[in-house]
């Protein structure tokens, strides 16, 4: 039985995504403990292999079938690699790619799969895994017994720095990049990519954003909106608002969060000067993390927020802009 940990790298627009570094960092830790290697599988963008110096071996392919993400081609390539490498553990994310691949691997390899993983540890011969369950209301402690396993990990749970070669003190990979021989693997594919549509810039869908900056009457006047907009721009987040601001015509209706507006579930909801009326809470209380800034320590928004502060929203905005723009 091998002790290797294999990571499926994900990339977008010519860049490796953060979650890939998070997984590679974690894989390094687990492999070092068990005396195995870290293998990274990089499909499509072979040129990014040198950024994966924390892995021992980067297995690449530039086969046209995986030039853009093709669910079935990725799945076949991964099954092919995993069957040959027989790692102890495969790590993917829980993104679209991770969902497609981890489930298919679980059936074809086969191996037990834990999804929505927030933590993985070795526990003797087994793996002890913590998963987020029931919309984050509970955590599940799972043991993956048996000689091999797959974990689909939620992005943002491990530090990405551990997986970046420049930070982790590993130099460029030399000679450890291997080209995969995928001859025949993609024969008779039932899926082909007809088109790739990039999201349109400009039109704002506050329900699709991972990070939302949301403002309420605490900003006082329309002119002050600019300051908050600057913060939102710096963070690359859309600006949302409570209803009174929409009523005033300061922002379009499509930015209204709440009962008579939209329901949002971003990873982080930054609420500035919003009191937390029930009608507003209805639209945002299921955000993963709520950070609330309100000068009134008794404001109901603090009952649903994860983190709170009573500093003035303008001071906070200034400080945040400074830090983010650095």
């Amino acid at each position: 039985m091998g002790n290797d940990v294999l990571v499926l790298a994900e990339h977008r627009n010519g860049r490796l995504s953060d979650v890939t570094f998070e997984l590679v960092g974690k894989a390094r830790e687990l492999a070092d403990r068990g005396g195995g290697r870290v293998l990274a599988v990089l499909l499509g963008e072979t040129s990014l292999a040198h950024e994966l110096g924390v892995a021992d071996v980067v297995l690449c392919s530039e086969d046209p079938a995986v030039a853009t993400y093709n669910a079935q081609a990725y799945e076949r390539a991964m099954v092919h690699v995993v069957e040959r490498q027989q790692p102890r553990l495969v790590l993917t994310s829980t993104t679209t790619v991770g969902m497609d691949v981890s489930t298919a691997l679980s059936v074809h390899w086969p191996a037990p799969l834990a999804s929505y993983v927030v933590d993985v540890r070795r526990d003797g011969e087994d793996l002890a895994v913590t998963c987020r369950a029931y919309g984050g209301k509970l955590l599940a402690e799972v043991a993956l017994t048996g000689p091999r396993a797959i974990c689909a990990v939620i992005a943002g749970c491990f530090p990405a720095a551990d997986g970046r070669s420049e930070v982790a003190g590993r130099s460029e990979v030399a000679g450890q990049v291997e080209l995969l021989d995928l001859e025949g693997v993609f024969d008779g594919l039932g899926v082909s990519v007809a088109q790739v549509v990039e999201p349109e810039k400009g039109d704002v869908d506050i329900t699709a954003a991972d990070l939302l900056v949301s403002v309420g009457r605490g900003i006082g006047s329309r002119e002050n909106l600019e300051v908050v907009q600057e913060l939102a721009d710096a963070l690359g987040a859309p600006l949302a608002a409570s209803r009174p601001l929409i009523d005033q015509g300061w922002l379009p209706k499509a930015r209204q969060v709440g009962k008579s507006g939209l329901t949002v579930r971003p990873k982080v909801y930054l609420a500035l000067g919003i009191s937390g009326a029930p009608e507003h809470l209805e639209g945002m209380q299921h955000a993963e993390t709520v950070i609330a800034c309100n000068t009134d320590p008794k404001a109901p928004i603090f009952d649903v927020a994860t983190y709170g502060t009573t500093v003035d929203l303008f001071d906070l905005t200034d400080e945040l802009v400074k830090r983010v723009q650095e």
Partner: protein, 433 residues
């Protein structure tokens, strides 16, 4: 209908001047306005009967057609005050081809009944609108915000989508014991039917606690259903979900059958309306009181401990006042409170303005905003301020949240919105909040 509810200038249907060619002689005749009226298309000719046939065939939809255009209803319609509405306008639009079943106009009526009060032809929008809405709802033509409330009501038995098991969470901080029938099913005098907004909305919960304290102090023997309570759902019915209302009624009646009580008391004029008018139609008869009707006869027994010193104006809930004729019980309570000076707003009692929450309006804020220049609740808040009051007193659970929001958005933060029971409680020295 103009966005923002601006009034439309009338369009003339007479010409100042016309030229008519004789089909016989070919000669042209110049005609002055007074004369040419009969040659222009007249209102009576450019209409279609299709809309009325469709609406009139529905049970409850018959009366729209009876309108003879006298126009009395339009100036009393609360929606027309901030937009373009009223039975006569709807009648005329349907006459000229509007498909009411798919129009936003279908959802603007709050079923406040002020038009019916003045209509010589008894055109009854309180029946017409729900009948047409029922068809629209069955066809899935229902605004998203409203559909969401229907779904929540069906799933959880309350419009807010709150956990049914937390229905009596408000009792915890009431400061007095509130009996829950499920755990203590002994017979009781008053079954207190709390309804949704007093059970779950933070401001409503405060009022519920006030009621519990006041009723306890007056020695009223009361109990609640707690987790077994489901909304009566009268506004859902008027918004077109009759099936939902009936499903709820089956559950409510089955629950009520399990307990022994003398009368039902509720703070919600909407639930009150259904218990008084709809339930008996299906053979379910109860002795039902609004909470102001329970307390008004008891005012002499109240021991007042505090003088409030404020000027109060009172907003008549449509479903207590116009729909059920109770204007005095709330006023009796207010007048009895030491230090309260009661002033009336211009529109009060029979001609009371509507808060905008009835008939589903409570859950159509987004849609309504597209057709009105301001919210009905905002309009009403400004009337309250003009009356010189510092407190706007209400006795319908929908209203506190609507008016408080209206006070903020019109920049009248100084106006306090209080349920009558909160004022009574405060003057009796209770928690006051």
């Amino acid at each position: 209908m103009p966005i923002g509810g601006r009034k439309q200038p009338p369009t003339a249907v007479e010409l100042e001047h016309a030229t008519v060619t004789s089909p016989l002689s070919g000669r042209e005749w110049e005609l002055p306005g007074m004369w040419n009226r009969m040659f222009e298309q007249r209102v009576e000719w450019d209409f279609t009967t299709e809309g009325f046939e469709k609406i009139g065939s529905l049970e409850g939809g018959e009366s729209l057609e009876w309108c003879y255009g006298c126009g009395k209803c339009v100036p009393v319609c609360p929606v027309d005050l901030v937009g373009e509405y009223g039975p006569r306008k709807i009648h005329r639009k349907v006459q000229t081809g509007l498909d009411l079943f798919t129009s936003d106009d279908l959802w603007l009526c709050t079923t406040c009944m002020n038009c019916l009060r003045v209509c010589p032809k008894e055109v009854d929008m309180v029946k017409v609108m729900p009948a047409v809405r029922e068809v629209a709802v069955a066809e899935g033509q229902v605004p998203g915000e409203l559909a969401d409330v229907f779904e929540k009501t069906f799933r959880y038995g309350n419009a807010l989508g709150e956990n049914p098991r937390r229905r009596h969470a408000w009792t915890r901080d009431a400061g007095v014991d509130v009996r829950v029938l499920a755990s203590d099913p002994r017979p009781v005098d008053v079954l207190f039917y709390v309804e949704d907004y007093w059970s779950y909305h933070p401001r409503g919960m405060q009022a519920a606690r006030s009621f519990a304290r006041v009723a306890t102090a007056l020695g009223v023997d009361f109990a609640i259903l707690g987790p077994e309570e489901k909304t009566i759902g009268d506004s859902q019915r008027l918004a077109g979900e009759k099936g939902l209302f009936e499903a709820l009624m089956e559950d409510v009646v089955a629950t009520l059958d399990r307990y022994e009580f003398q009368r039902i008391v509720t703070p919600d004029p909407h639930g009150f309306n259904a218990l008084v008018k709809e339930y008996p139609k299906r053979g379910h008869r109860y002795d039902v009181l609004h909470y102001t009707q329970l307390l008004a006869p008891l005012v002499d027994r109240i021991e007042w401990r505090k003088e409030l010193d404020c000027t109060v104006t009172f907003h008549d809930p449509c479903y207590l006042g116009r729909h059920n004729g109770e204007y005095d019980a709330p006023r009796t309570l207010l007048r009895a409170i030491p230090g309260v000076r009661l002033v009336e707003m211009g529109r009060c009692r029979e001609n009371g303005y509507c808060c905008g929450g009835g008939g589903g309006g409570m859950w159509l804020d987004g849609l309504t905003a597209n057709h009105t220049s301001e919210r009905l609740s905002e309009r009403r808040v400004r009337e309250a301020v003009e009356s010189g009051a510092d407190v706007l007193a209400v006795c319908c659970p929908y209203e506190v949240s609507r008016f408080e929001d209206g006070a903020k958005s019109t920049g009248n933060d100084q106006l306090q919105v209080r349920d009558i029971i909160e004022l009574v409680d405060e003057a009796m020295g209770g928690g006051g909040g």
